[in-house]
Symmetry: C2
Subunit: 382 residues, 2 copies
């Protein structure tokens, strides 16, 4: 059992979410991640609520298993340590605003010249090129500007934010993918590359259906509440005790659904094809709910499951924690504290792989500068 | 200029979105992707609206630049072709329900024995293990069951779906990351691995803040409309002509914001820290809107931009298409038709990389079985 990235070292100059999420996923695949933090406070999220035993549970959830060294990149002695790290690392990752590392003398061109093997991964609000390159961004700014908010929410009401910080996270994921592609390429060329991922670009990259629609019709879609904009029935329905989801993505599933609900609609031309069902979606929803309101969510989910129809509950996060499938897949792990006690929860590794350990715990998130001695010893040995 | 995955061949047995999105991002990094489709209809999304010139713009947006061969994996002759493809490919990707390939005699153990170099990537609704492994899922089922819907929407109203299909897309992205890690590992071991990604797991993996909160407080968060649940001000505000976003993520930005809006709040203890601002978020929103309602969105965005405060518009998808930053980053590309004419739009590659071409067009999406001759010739040469 060996994790695939065993032996790779990532120098992690990132903070808050997009960068740290990227390096967390690489750590989960076996890479050694060394956080290089500003002396004083370090990563902003060390001060983010909620706290437990005086430490940020948020920081722990994203930074478990990483090591930390505090370096002032304007201090000559610390710069020497940093440069020894650069010589020994495979990857440097940063999410500063474009230009910050250049001003410190560690821009891509200089690093590539001095450490040609080094892969350089950058994630920023708007990318390292274009008119807005130097502007700051946060998750919500790119969710709004990138179009996702305009298709999320209820019709005729104000748009809403996606509750998960996909502005940061999706960008961090694209960066991880770029870094791995560059490392793979390096096995042939011996040379690193720079990867430049923008949070705004990454929002556009996930719009899929909305891009096709806008490009063909010339008209941008709006929000469609809890239903899919072009598949019916594919939305939430009321049972006697609340909402649940039915997603009958094709004609065959719709026929099965009609049989399971004892609804004599299969031959009705108003519902014979998906375009027809989309046209008559409101009527269809009422006809289905006239049936589903008579019994509980649990009843209908079991019944439709048995019939092979995609269905399920809308779960709150505490319910997700107890979901038997989530538990069986080891998707909620314990982050240990320095005393080896389970102290925080974090998401498990969604990338399950043969011959890769899938532990139920994670090493502690580091204290600021908490691994200085160990890191310096590693450099001395290297 | 060489794309990092040049020379890698992906055998793509996927359909609809999670799998095809994964292989699209690998194609954008230079891999050759061969779609192996069912004779007859092929990938379901060939029949998905919207259409242009009789072809699905949706299919084109996700499958550009791939090749297609139609093979019936129950037919002996076609199985021989498939096995020659397996011997020559680096990766096989599939998003069937668990067990389908096993029944065809192409399960992981058999493939790994016969083609030890082959990396096997699978994405499914619930993964290849656990009590729900064999159940079907669609995007909306996992958005609902995985917790994202429970934190998306307005307080005291029904939850809404994230407008982009992140149930599929995020899973496809984790699969791409796993495949690349396995290919990197293979350069040392010569052996492939199986990657098993579940759409439900992937939803949990992006919950970040909600996991920390639920684990520390024991209470799951609900939806919080258009504001961040634990940073203030970080939400939408009304200007005279509509909504825009201000994301002042820390005290320094809040001070700058007060100066830019000429709001004398900087010394006010009700707004001195982020916890205090969260406590008084509604009051703060009114005080800010008392100022912002006096002028247009464009006015405030310019003013706050100049002051270095993260801000921006809420853009519809047609507006995103014209965004100067999106245009400068080549994030909207033209998919060509067989006559070489720009026919459809697709998202550009969000992974910008040195020495990698970033073309403004994409080769056509393949017709079903449209590359049979070319693929058979490649096998004969190989």
């Amino acid at each position: 059992m060996t994790a695939p990235l065993t032996g790779y070292t990532i120098l992690d100059l990132t903070h808050v979410l997009a960068g740290p999420f990227c390096t967390m996923t690489l750590a989960d695949l076996g890479a050694d991640v060394i956080k290089v933090e500003q002396p004083g406070g370090g990563d902003d999220t060390r001060a983010f609520p909620p706290f437990k035993d005086g430490k940020s549970a948020y920081f722990a959830a994203i930074n478990h298993g990483k090591k930390s060294i505090a370096l002032d990149l304007k201090d000559d002695e610390d710069r020497l340590v940093f440069e020894r790290l650069l010589a020994n690392a495979d990857v440097i990752v940063e999410n500063y605003r474009p230009g910050v590392l250049d001003r410190l003398g560690y821009g891509w061109e200089i690093l590539h010249e001095a450490y040609p093997h080094l892969v350089y991964g950058a994630v920023s609000g708007f990318g390292h090129t274009g008119p807005d390159a130097k502007r700051p961004a946060y998750d919500m700014v790119v969710q709004a500007r990138g179009g996702v908010m305009s298709i999320t929410g209820e019709k005729d009401r104000d748009p809403v934010r996606v509750g998960a910080s996909i502005g940061d996270i999706v960008a961090g994921m694209f960066l991880a993918q770029g870094i791995l592609a560059a490392l793979l390429d390096r096995t042939r060329t011996g040379r690193g590359r720079k990867i430049d991922v923008s949070m705004l670009d990454s929002q556009l990259a996930i719009l899929e259906h909305a891009i096709a629609l806008t490009s063909v019709t010339g008209k941008a879609p709006g929000p469609s509440g809890a239903r899919h904009p072009s598949i019916t029935p594919f939305e939430t329905f009321h049972a006697s005790d609340g909402l649940f989801v039915i997603a009958a993505g094709n004609d065959r599933l719709f026929e099965k659904l009609c049989i399971a609900l004892n609804l004599p609609l299969a031959g009705d031309p108003r519902f014979a094809t998906n375009p027809a069902r989309c046209e008559n979606a409101r009527l269809l929803k009422r006809l289905i709910e006239a049936v589903t309101l008579d019994n509980t969510r649990a009843f209908w989910i079991e019944k439709l499951k048995a019939a092979g129809i995609p269905t399920g509950p809308i779960q709150s996060v505490d319910q997700v924690f107890k979901d038997p499938q989530i538990v069986a897949r080891n998707m909620l792990v314990d982050v240990l504290d320095r005393n080896g006690r389970a102290a925080y929860k974090a998401a498990g590794n969604p990338i399950k792989m043969t011959d890769m350990p899938d532990p139920t715990t994670r090493a502690p998130a580091p204290d600021l500068d908490g691994n200085r001695g160990e890191i310096l010893r590693w450099l001395d040995e290297g």
